[in-house]
C-alpha cells in the first residue's frame, strides 16, 4: 500500500475517533441522596377565608409551603420536580420560589441605584419554571423523567401540529409577550383558571438552572385556592411587588444534609422535603439576606436593606479576613472561614468605566 493511501484515510480515522468523544464532563454528576426529578404526589390547596387578614393569610401560606431540594440527573436530561392536585371547580394559584434572589449590579456613574450597589452572588442561585396542566396531557414520567404539556394533534389534512396545554401562564412585566418566566431565582406565581372539579392536574417544575456552586437547588412550592390576583389583593399587594414577594416563601436556601422534616414525612412527602417555613432548615444568614432584599420595597429605615446586608458581608471579608466560597461549594463547617457562604457577590468583579 502506498503512503498516499494512508494520507487519504487519515481524515476518515479522525472522524471516526471524534464520534467516540466522552461528553459526560458537560453534565453534573448525580448527588447521592438528592433526587433529580422527585414526585411529591398530591398537594392540597390552601383555603383562603373571606375575612382573612394579610398577616394571618401569610402565616397560613407559609406553614403549608412544601420545601424540597433537587440535584442533577447525571445526564443531559433536565432535572425538575412534579406534584399534582385535584381541580376544585374554581381557580387556583401556584406559588414557587427557587433559591434564592438575583439582581444586576447598578454600575451607572451618573444615577446609581443604591440598593443594588453590590453585585449578586450568581453562583448560589438557580431557576425553576412552573408549568401546570391536566395530568392527562403531561408527557413526562413522574419520578423518572421530566416532561411538558406539548401535545401533538393531527388535523383533517393529516398535518401534525403541536399545542402547548400548559394552563398556568406567568404574567410577567411585558404584556405583549404570551410566554414569560420570572427569571433567575425569581419568585413566580400563576393562576390555573376554572379548574375542572375532580380532574387531576400536574405541576411540572422545570429545572432551568441549578446553582453553579453546589448543584443543589432548594425551593418552596404551594397551591392556594383562588386566582393569584385575588390572593394579591388579600395580601395587600405583596404578590405584585418585585421585591417583597420574595418573602412570601422564605428560607428556600436549604441546608444540605438535613433529614426530611417530620411534618413532611407525616404528610407522606418523599425525601428531601419539609413542610412549612418553620420546619425547613436554612443556610445561616439566608433568611436575613432574603429579608434585606424584601425590605427594598418598604419604608423601613430601621431595617437592613440589601446594600446594608452586602456591606456587612464585604466588611467581614476585608476586616475580619474571612473569604467567600462564591463559585466553589460552600462549606457546612462554620469554622471554615475560607469557604463561607456569601449571598452577595465579589465586589472586586464590579465592572469599571470602559470595561463594560
Amino acid at each position: 500500500m502506498r503512503s498516499g493511501t494512508f494520507r487519504h484515510l487519515a481524515p476518515v480515522a479522525l472522524f471516526v475517533a471524534a464520534c467516540d468523544i466522552n461528553q459526560s464532563q458537560f453534565v453534573d454528576d448525580v448527588i447521592p441522596g438528592v433526587p433529580s426529578v422527585p414526585d411529591f404526589g398530591a398537594l392540597t390547596p390552601v383555603p383562603v377565608a373571606d375575612d382573612a387578614t394579610p398577616d394571618g393569610l401569610l402565616a397560613d401560606i407559609q406553614s403549608n409551603v412544601l420545601y424540597a431540594e433537587i440535584g442533577p440527573t447525571g445526564t443531559s436530561f433536565q432535572s425538575g420536580a412534579t406534584a399534582s392536585f385535584l381541580g376544585t371547580g374554581s381557580s387556583l394559584c401556584i406559588l414557587l420560589d427557587p433559591e434564592l434572589v438575583s439582581w444586576v449590579q447598578s454600575v451607572s456613574p451618573t444615577s446609581p441605584l443604591s440598593d443594588f450597589a453590590y453585585p449578586d452572588n450568581i453562583y448560589d442561585d438557580g431557576d425553576l419554571e412552573i408549568r401546570v396542566g391536566q395530568s392527562v396531557f403531561y408527557t413526562g414520567t413522574t419520578g423518572q423523567r421530566l416532561g411538558n404539556f406539548q401535545i401533538r394533534f393531527e388535523d383533517s389534512l393529516g398535518v401534525e401540529t403541536t399545542q402547548d396545554k400548559n394552563a398556568c401562564v406567568y404574567q410577567g412585566q411585558t404584556p405583549d409577550f404570551p410566554v414569560q418566566f420570572g427569571g433567575r431565582a425569581a419568585f413566580e406565581a400563576c393562576t390555573v383558571e376554572n379548574t375542572i372539579p375532580g380532574t387531576s392536574y400536574t405541576i411540572a417544575l422545570e429545572g432551568f438552572a441549578l446553582p453553579v456552586d453546589d448543584a443543589r437547588l432548594g425551593f418552596g412550592l404551594v397551591v392556594i385556592e383562588g386566582a393569584c390576583t385575588d390572593l394579591s389583593s388579600k395580601l395587600g399587594g405583596t404578590l405584585d411587588d418585585n421585591y417583597a414577594r420574595e418573602c412570601i416563601i422564605p428560607g428556600e436556601a436549604i441546608l444540605p444534609g438535613s433529614p426530611r422534616g417530620a411534618r413532611a414525612e407525616a404528610a407522606g412527602f418523599p425525601d428531601l422535603t419539609w413542610l412549612g417555613a418553620d420546619e425547613v432548615p436554612t443556610w445561616p444568614g439566608a433568611l436575613d439576606f432574603e429579608q434585606s432584599f424584601c425590605n427594598i420595597s418598604g419604608d423601613v429605615a430601621d431595617r437592613d436593606k440589601l446594600a446594608a446586608y452586602c456591606k456587612r458581608e464585604v466588611d467581614a471579608v476585608t476586616e475580619e479576613g474571612t473569604t467567600c466560597s462564591w463559585e466553589l461549594p460552600p462549606s457546612l463547617d462554620a469554622s471554615d472561614a475560607t469557604a463561607r457562604r456569601c449571598y452577595c457577590g465579589d465586589l472586586t468583579d464590579t465592572p469599571t468605566g470602559g470595561g463594560i
Binding site: 401535545i151 394533534f153 388535523d155 383533517s156 389534512l157 398535518v159 401540529t161 399545542q163 396545554k165 404584556p175 405583549d176 404570551p178
Partner: protein, 313 residues
C-alpha cells in the same frame, strides 16, 4: 497536476449539484383577492351638514380583514362556517395575513380605529371623521384637529420619524402603477359590481393541498350618542373588536399615557372570540387551494352580528 484538476472538477460538480437539492419543503408565496360586498362599506349616517340621514358607502368604513389558511371549514358549531378546530378551541392556522393593519394615529382619539390602506392623506382622515361621521377628531389636549399637517407633525414628533412611509398610516405608493396615487391604490378598490376587492399576499406559507383560505372582516361599528349640552346626536366609530388596546406603541410623553392598540394575538386561531362581539362579514365557502400558483379569491358574503347570522347567499 491532472489529478488535482480532476479532483477540483469533481468537487465543483458536487457543489453545483448540491445547489439543486430539493429539500422537500412545501413553502410558497401565495396570493389572492378578497371581495367584500358593497353593503359592508355602506352605512346609514346622519349628514353633519344637513342633519338628514343618508346612505354612505365609503372604503374608510371597512375594518381590518383577516385571512387564514386552515385544514377545512366546520359548519357544525355555529350558524356560519368557522375554521376546523384542531384541538381545544384552537384552529391552529397554517399561516395567514391581514388587509389593513391597526396603526398608531398619534392621538389617543384614533386608538384602535386607525388602519393602514384606508387613507390617502391626513386631511382624508379629518374629512372622514368631520364630514362623514360628524365627529371631528381631537388631539390629546381635547383640541379639535382641523389641519391634516398637525397629525403628520405630531407623528413626526412622537415617533421620531421624518416621512409618511415610516408612520405607515397613509397609502403613499402607486400600487396600480397608473402614474397617480389615488383611491385606486388603497387596500380595497371598488369593482364593476360596486363591491370592494383587495389583494393579499402570504409570503413563505406552508402549503398543504386541499387547505382552505378563509377570512373575515371586522367591520367598523358606528354608534350614536346624545350630547348632553345641546341634545344633538353624535356619531362616532367604535374601536375595532380585534384590536387589543393594551398592546402596541406606548405613549408616555407629558400627560399622555396610553397604548396605541394593536391587532389581538389570536384572531386567526380563535376567530369566534371576536365574531361574537362585532359586526363582521365572513366567507361562506372559503377558497380550497390545490395549486399554489393559482391566486385565491375569497368572497366575504356572510354577515354576522355579535355572533349571529344576519344574511347569507
Amino acid at each position: 497536476m491532472n489529478n488535482k484538476l480532476t479532483l477540483i472538477s469533481w468537487l465543483a460538480l458536487g457543489m453545483a449539484s448540491a445547489c439543486r437539492y430539493d429539500e422537500g419543503l412545501s413553502i410558497y408565496n401565495l396570493s389572492g383577492t378578497v371581495t367584500i360586498p358593497r353593503a359592508a362599506a355602506t352605512r346609514s349616517l346622519i349628514d353633519p351638514a344637513t342633519g338628514v340621514e343618508r346612505e354612505v358607502t365609503d372604503v374608510r368604513l371597512l375594518g381590518p380583514v383577516y385571512i387564514g389558511l386552515y385544514p377545512s371549514l366546520d359548519r357544525t358549531r355555529e350558524q356560519f362556517p368557522l375554521p376546523e378546530e384542531v384541538a381545544s378551541g384552537e384552529a391552529s392556522p397554517y399561516s395567514g395575513t391581514t388587509i389593513g393593519d391597526i396603526r398608531y394615529g398619534c392621538f389617543e382619539f384614533f386608538r384602535c380605529k386607525m388602519l393602514s390602506g384606508r387613507y390617502l392623506s391626513y386631511d382624508d382622515i379629518i374629512d372622514f371623521y368631520t364630514n362623514v361621521l360628524g365627529t371631528p377628531p381631537k388631539d390629546d389636549f381635547e383640541n379639535v384637529i382641523e389641519v391634516g399637517q398637525y397629525i403628520q407633525q405630531t407623528c413626526f414628533d412622537l415617533l421620531e420619524v421624518t416621512s409618511d412611509d415610516e408612520i405607515r398610516v397613509l397609502t403613499t405608493k402607486d400600487r396600480n402603477e397608473d402614474g397617480v396615487v389615488d383611491k385606486n391604490d388603497l387596500d380595497f378598490v371598488e369593482d364593476e359590481n360596486g363591491d370592494f376587492v383587495g389583494k393579499f399576499e402570504i409570503l413563505q406559507a406552508d402549503f398543504h393541498p386541499g387547505m382552505v383560505a378563509w377570512g373575515f372582516l371586522d367591520d367598523a361599528e358606528i354608534f350614536r350618542t346624545t350630547r348632553e349640552e345641546d341634545g344633538a346626536i353624535v356619531q362616532n366609530m367604535d374601536e375595532f373588536t380585534t384590536c387589543d388596546p393594551t398592546r402596541g406603541y406606548s405613549e408616555g410623553t407629558y400627560q399622555r399615557n396610553y397604548r396605541a392598540g394593536l391587532q389581538a394575538t389570536d384572531t386567526l386561531n380563535r376567530p369566534l372570540n371576536y365574531l361574537k362581539n362585532t359586526e363582521a362579514w365572513l366567507s361562506d365557502q372559503g377558497f380550497t387551494w390545490t395549486d399554489p400558483a393559482e391566486p385565491a379569491n375569497i368572497v366575504l358574503d356572510v354577515s354576522v352580528v355579535d355572533g349571529k347570522l344576519e344574511m347569507g347567499e
